[in-house]
Each structure stands twice: as C-alpha cells, then as structure tokens.
Symmetry: C5
Subunit: 95 residues, 5 copies
C-alpha cells in the first residue's frame, strides 16, 4: 500500500460496465516526509467517505478490485484506509 | 486508474486469439496539468467510443481484461471512462 | 500493451515446467517515435511467427499467460500482435 | 521479493473490509548495500512479529494477499520473511 | 521475463506459510550488454539448480507463483530458465 492525499474528483458519465456509481478520486502519492512523490493517480474510494486533503493509503493492481463491493470491476487503485497517525521507529509521530 | 489522451490507432491483422476485433488505441498518459507523462501505451477501448484527443482514464494489468466483454483476453491496458470534468480540492475545475 | 521490436532469441535447455517448447524472443520496447525506450525484455511469442526486426505489441503480467495455448504457465510478457500500421490523431501514418 | 527494513507503523481506524486487525508497517526498500532505495511503502505483516529496524523481505501485488490468513483482502505488499543472513557469490556474508 | 545473474543467497528461518523450504536467491537484473540494470531482487529458484553467477531469466508477479510446485505461495519473482545462449538479430551470439 502507498500513502497519499486526496486532491480532487473525476466526473465521467461514459464509463465501462461495473464503474457506474463508483466514486473516483484524484490521489497524490506521498513520500516519508508526506511530500508529493510521482504523478497523480485516479483511485476508487472503497471507504465511500474519503474527503479532500485526507491522508489515506491506497492499494494497487488486482487487490484494488478486492476492496470494492463488487469485486470483478475494472479498478486498479482503491483507497482502503484513512490514516489517523504514523509512528516511526525513530520515535516521531506524524499527522 | 490513470488519466490519458487518445493519440492514435494501431492496425494489426496478425493478432493473438481473443484480440480479433478489439479496438486498440494509442494513449498518452497525462499528469495533473494534463501534460504528457511517460511513454505512449496501447490500450483496448472498452467503451468502443473513445475518439482522437478525448481525455480518458484507463485501467492497467489484470483489471484491464475485466473491462472487456470477453474477460480472458490478453489485454493489460483498457480505456474505461471518458472524463467530463476534473475537480481539484483547491477549487479549480479542468476540461 | 506496449510497442516493441524483435531483437533476438533466447536459447535455454534448463527451463521451468510449462516453458518447454515456448519460443522466447528478446524485445526492445519502443516510444512514439519508434525509438528504444528502457531495457530489453524476454517475451513469449504467442503468435509463433514474429520475425527479427518485426514491429510488434506485447502484453505484460498475468495477461501474458492468457495469450498462450496453455494458460497456467510462468510467462509475464507475450507478443500478441504484429503491427501493420500506426495512425496518429495528428494525421501521420507510421511503418 | 525485495529487501527492506521496518521503519514504522500506520494507525488507521477507518479501513476497508478485510483490513480490520491487519498490522500495517512502514517499510523502507533497500539495495544491495542495504541502503534505502526508492520511497517507503506500507506492508501488511504476514508474520505478525516483524519488529522496528528488522531486515525483512516483502512480496508485492497479488502474491501479498496470498501471504495473509484471509487471502481475499485488499493488500498489495506483505512482509513474508525476516532475514538472518545474506550470502553473496563474492563470498561476503551480511547482517 | 527479464535476464539476470545469480549473485547470492538469502537465509531466513522466520518465513510466511508456503515459503518453508523454498530456495531464495539474490538476482541482479541485466541489460542487453549483460551489465547490471536497477537494484537486486530476491527470487525463488523454480529450477532448484541455479548456481552463483549463472545467467538466468526470471518471471515476475503472479506468474512467479505459477512456476513453483505449490502455486498458491507468496512469491513474486521466480527463476524459470538458465540461458545457454542469446542470439541477436544483428547476428551476434552471447554467452
């Protein structure tokens, strides 16, 4: 899984079968310092409650579909947790 | 899923079983500013209606095959939505 | 799928079960200008007829195995089409 | 599989179905010299006993879920072994 | 599949279920000139006979597990062939 932050929403009326009603959010992957890392991705919101600027972690590839109610959907990134806190072995706590 | 723009078409008569009749488009992946990001990929058009220069999002790996009518096909990138609008948490709307 | 060009052949007598008799070719992935992009990969020839210097497209990961006659084989890249022509939305035709 | 070192823990109360009770650790992937390579990832602890600063190896993608007790969970990285020693063909032994 | 060279061995007593007795080798991926390309990976030896410094090719992701005797194991890279010779379309033969 990777850490990311919710940055926006995708609106699309023309979608493949299985994607009707699936909430798609734009996610910025983050590095350890919670700074942007690489390009934005579009992820399905498996929690149905992620909000703009939330710190989340997402799952990629086939496992993303497993997070959805209907698992045989063409989804390759899904938001599966909202982070409360990160603890580092160096003792710091973040967010 | 990743954002991309349709840039062309692939014509091939010699194809593996399961790929006969599948429409293959050349897609340029895009970043947040909707500028090209990385190299072109060849994606199957699961919507059967994506047009040149359309802003779309595509799914990769095993999930791509799930977007097709016949799901046990050797397809690893599929176009699964045509974007109407993108909303950013900063308040901007794009396209 | 990705565009590539056949650059060579791999000869191996010691192979894992399921790979006996599978033709393995060395493929150079290509970018839009059909110039080399990234390192060579070894792909199974699902068409059984790709020839040196052919412009082809290949599929990666689990989908590669789906292109083979026997689908539960340890294959992660397969050549699934020989390109006749590429059409760009800018109007150019290549190859 | 890839080598990595345990660097921290993720605390999240809002998680997707199947992730309740799964221990999530922050892992720094390592190179041959056991120096950091690329960004941190979040991995499920399939061993349930990896400790901060342990040298481990993790598995990615669909195989990660196979390491869990419940295999149809949205997990794409799992810690599957704690390294005792590495032997190089040059004769060195590390850790 | 990718070309690589065996560079070492991983010793681990604490492993996830399904990995007991699986031989894990350190592999250096190679480019066309058979020079190192990217970081080392840890791969299961599906042939059970790869030796230090052997030129091999390995398979990644779900297909890696398909190369093992027991296929539902958390393995994402497996050595599936020992290379005898490589032939290039330019006429050279290597190794």
């Amino acid at each position: 899984m990777h850490l990311g932050r919710i940055k926006g929403t995708v609106v699309a009326t023309m979608v493949a079968e299985g994607l009707e009603g699936v909430r798609l959010l734009i996610v910025q992957p983050l590095n350890r310092e919670l700074k942007p890392k690489g390009g934005m991705i579009v992820a399905a919101d498996a929690l149905k409650m992620a909000a703009p600027e939330d710190l989340i972690y997402f799952v990629a590839s086939r496992e993303a579909a497993l997070a959805m109610e209907e698992t045989f959907v063409p989804v390759d990134h899904a938001i599966v947790g909202i982070v409360d806190e990160l603890h580092w072995s160096t003792g710091e706590a973040v967010e």
